[in-house]
């Protein structure tokens, strides 16, 4: 790109100037009109008291805290459901994608039917199905579905035991230390394999480290873990609830299920495309040197297929994160419902709040795609 050439430079300058002027025009227009109607503009409202409570929050939140805090709660809820969704969508998607290529007719057909059904129904309808039809059919607390007496499934939520830690930071440090140790082990094993062809059982060693390090913290690090099991309590003659434990609200469960099932279909198709995209010659050559079917998949096909799978899968992760905004339809307090919903209605500051929300989604999406690009580069085969 020769920027010094006027033939290239001048159109670019003109485009930039026109873009800036269009944006400036709209901004000025909005400012004038809002001024005419007595609507003020400013981000100062973020420090005002929110005055509304939120039903589900990962951090401490109370109505006496600021709108900025409420925004944070919504953001964390969005990230929570997105991470859960991405995890399960990937798990289901990879399984279904590989399953579709199975030589077993039943598995392949089931995978195909799953993909066709869940791909073609709009996500909002699937979400309504899981929330209104599936989860609403759950029983009331007094007749809860009992899971080994420690966990209960009801229409009001999935009650699981609460983890009560002491010295949780020590436990976290041990996990971190074990991860670092595993990285070193993998590097060492790779070096050994390249130098003298010796096979080091990295998987078993890593597994051992992951179990051992945290276990030591329990024995000598002063870390303890207690469980608070939910207990049925009677509030009035017919109203029961569970006290203690943690409640996973049905809104979160249904949103996570709907997002995972829907996005998994697209990821499955990406995986299938990636595997089919590896030339047949690779599989034949691998088979001819005596590798088993699973070894072929793991060592020869997947590394090459990943290059094809990862970019569209990044797209799906971004889609899942943005689709989580459908939470507003089922009262899951994500950023759209809490901030671009309740806070917007209470303060009336539409322009400021929507701009913040859009900026937040942009930031989240950019972070995900940045991470995926890095991952793509790291697993891509370095072509010589």
């Amino acid at each position: 790109m020769n920027l010094k050439n006027p033939k290239i430079l001048i159109p670019q300058i003109i485009t930039v100037i026109s873009l800036i002027s269009v944006i400036a025009y709209f901004a000025f227009n909005a400012q004038v009109n809002m001024g005419n109607r007595g609507i003020s503009f400013g981000y100062g409202f973020l420090s005002q008291e929110a005055s509304f409570d939120i039903g589900f929050s990962l951090i401490d939140y109370d109505g006496s805290m600021s709108y900025a805090r409420a925004f944070l709660v919504g953001l964390l809820n969005t990230l929570l459901v997105s991470v859960i969704g991405i995890f399960f969508a990937t798990l289901i998607g990879v399984t279904v994608g590989i399953g579709r290529l199975s030589s077993n007719y039943l598995i392949a057909k089931t995978a195909e039917i799953y993909v066709e059904i869940f791909r073609n129904i709009p996500l909002l309808l699937q979400l309504f199905f899981w929330y209104y039809a599936a989860l609403r059919a759950l029983p009331l607390p007094e007749n809860a579905i009992n899971i080994f007496d420690v966990s209960y499934l009801t229409v009001k939520g999935w009650y699981v035991p609460k983890f009560i830690w002491t010295n949780f930071s020590v436990f976290l440090i041990s996990i971190l230390a074990s991860i670092i140790a595993i990285i070193f082990v993998v590097k060492y094993a790779k070096k050994k394999r390249e130098e003298i062809g010796q096979h080091v059982p990295t998987f078993s060693i890593s597994f051992g480290i992951l179990i051992l390090f945290p276990l030591i913290t329990f024995l000598v690090g002063g870390v303890t873990l207690n469980f608070q099991i939910p207990v049925l309590s009677q509030m009035t003659t017919t109203v029961f609830n569970f006290k203690g434990g943690v409640s996973i609200i049905p809104e979160l469960i249904s949103l996570a299920i709907a997002l995972s099932m829907y996005t998994a279909t697209f990821i499955a198709e990406n995986v299938r495309a990636g595997i089919l995209g590896v030339t047949k010659g690779q599989k034949e050559a691998a088979a001819s040197i005596g590798l088993t079917k699973s070894q072929i998949l793991k060592l020869v096909v997947m590394p090459q297929a990943l290059r094809i799978i990862i970019p569209p899968t990044t797209n799906q992760y971004l889609n899942l994160t943005k689709n989580s905004s459908l939470a507003a339809a089922i009262a899951y307090p994500d950023i759209v419902l809490v901030f671009a919903g309740t806070a917007l209605m209470q303060t009336g500051r539409a322009v400021e709040i929507i701009s913040i929300t859009m900026g937040t989604y942009l930031l989240i999406s950019l972070s995900i795609s940045m991470f995926m690009n890095w991952y793509n580069k790291s697993v891509a085969i370095k072509e010589k």
């Binding site: 609507i39 409570d53 003659t237 109203v239 049905p250 009262a331 309740t342």
Partner: protein, 348 residues
């Protein structure tokens, strides 16, 4: 000599033109209302209503809107356009209602909206009156064993609409009584009703008129009851944009004449026959005395049309709220002469 004559003539024409301009500008400005002009040009009043609240604004199967909020818009249409049916209704959720008004999509928001300071002062809107005095209450199942809000225990789950004064009042109430609760806030009233009906939440809270109206939509209305306590003031009324004071006055006084008509016994059936009444205030209400319409730039039969085509407040209340069983007892929504608090400024 000719030059100075020419100059004088020029000056004379210029000053005449100036006077003429100022006359038009000065005389027209005090009655100029952009919203009124646009409404006359369009031929209908742009009215923002709810997405379906029986008694206030509800559409039937053929798309006809009825309710006391609807009747405020119909009154304005009757006054300004001569025909109460010349209204275009835009159903709005709680989220869009204020933005729709400030952006100009609608000209009147008649959507059981609570009059509060922050809404009046902070977002470019003006409340022009109260057409229903209400309060917030709780609905529970009859078999729940809860007979009063004092029976609420910690851990209760409460469903409501998001972004309403209900959410804020609920929090104030539970906090001041030291009860920890789980708020579940939906956007649409239908979703809240469904959640409460399925047992997801133990109680449903909103304005008492809303509770009564929504109960009719439940699978078994008789299984539910509204608790006696009222935990807040909810004066519901129409809203318009700030900055168009003539339009403001038109909407305000359209509502006021309906209430005053009931005070003087003028209703839709006898309004035209009272044109020769002995009472001067009645004559003013039916347009045979005074020039009240000119104050807004309307003709003198504006209030007569409102009373004849829409009715007085008592008729409206009876038709939409009392006879439908939503709230047969008028409570505070009765004339001040009969023990209620409907006391409006006199239309004179």
């Amino acid at each position: 000599m000719i030059k100075s004559l020419k100059n004088m003539i020029l000056i004379g024409i210029a000053s005449l033109a100036l006077v003429a301009c100022s006359q038009q500008g000065g005389g027209g400005n005090s009655k100029k209302s952009k919203t009124l002009e646009n409404t006359k040009k369009a031929g209908f009043v742009k009215c923002g209503v709810s997405q379906g609240l029986p008694g206030f604004s509800n559409a039937d199967a053929s798309g006809n809107w009825t309710g006391i909020d609807v009747d405020v818009c119909r009154a304005v249409a009757a006054a300004v356009l001569g025909d109460a049916d010349k209204v275009k209704y835009t159903p709005l959720s709680a989220k869009e209602r204020f933005t729709a008004l400030t952006s100009g999509e609608i000209d009147i928001l008649s959507r059981n909206t609570t009059w509060t300071l922050s809404r009046d002062a902070d977002i470019g809107l003006t409340f022009v009156g109260v057409n229903f005095y209400d309060g917030q209450g709780f609905m529970v199942r009859k078999n729940s064993g809860i007979d009063s809000v004092k029976d609420f225990k910690s851990g209760i789950s409460a469903c409501t609409n998001t972004g309403t004064t209900t959410e804020l009042n609920m929090r104030d109430f539970f906090n001041s009584n030291n009860i920890s609760y789980e708020p579940i806030a939906f956007e649409k009233a239908d979703e809240v009703v469904q959640a409460y009906d399925a047992g997801r939440c133990d109680t449903y809270t909103t304005d008492k008129s809303g509770l009564a109206a929504q109960r009719t939509k439940m699978s078994n209305p008789d299984e539910h009851k509204v608790l006696p306590e009222t935990i807040s003031k909810e004066p519901l009324g129409p809203v318009v944009r700030q900055g168009d004071s003539v339009w403001e006055d038109i909407v305000r006084w359209s509502l006021n004449v309906m209430i005053e008509a009931e005070e003087y016994g003028v209703d839709s059936s006898n309004a035209s026959s009272l044109k020769d009444s002995e009472n001067p205030q009645i004559k003013r209400l039916v347009g045979t005395e005074g020039e009240l319409g000119a104050a807004f730039g309307l003709d003198n039969e504006w209030s007569l049309r409102i009373i004849e085509q829409v009715g007085n407040y008592g008729e409206i209340y009876e038709k939409h709220i009392a006879s439908t069983g939503i709230m047969p007892d008028r409570g505070p929504n009765e004339l001040w002469t009969k023990g209620g608090i409907l006391y409006v400024a006199p239309a004179r």
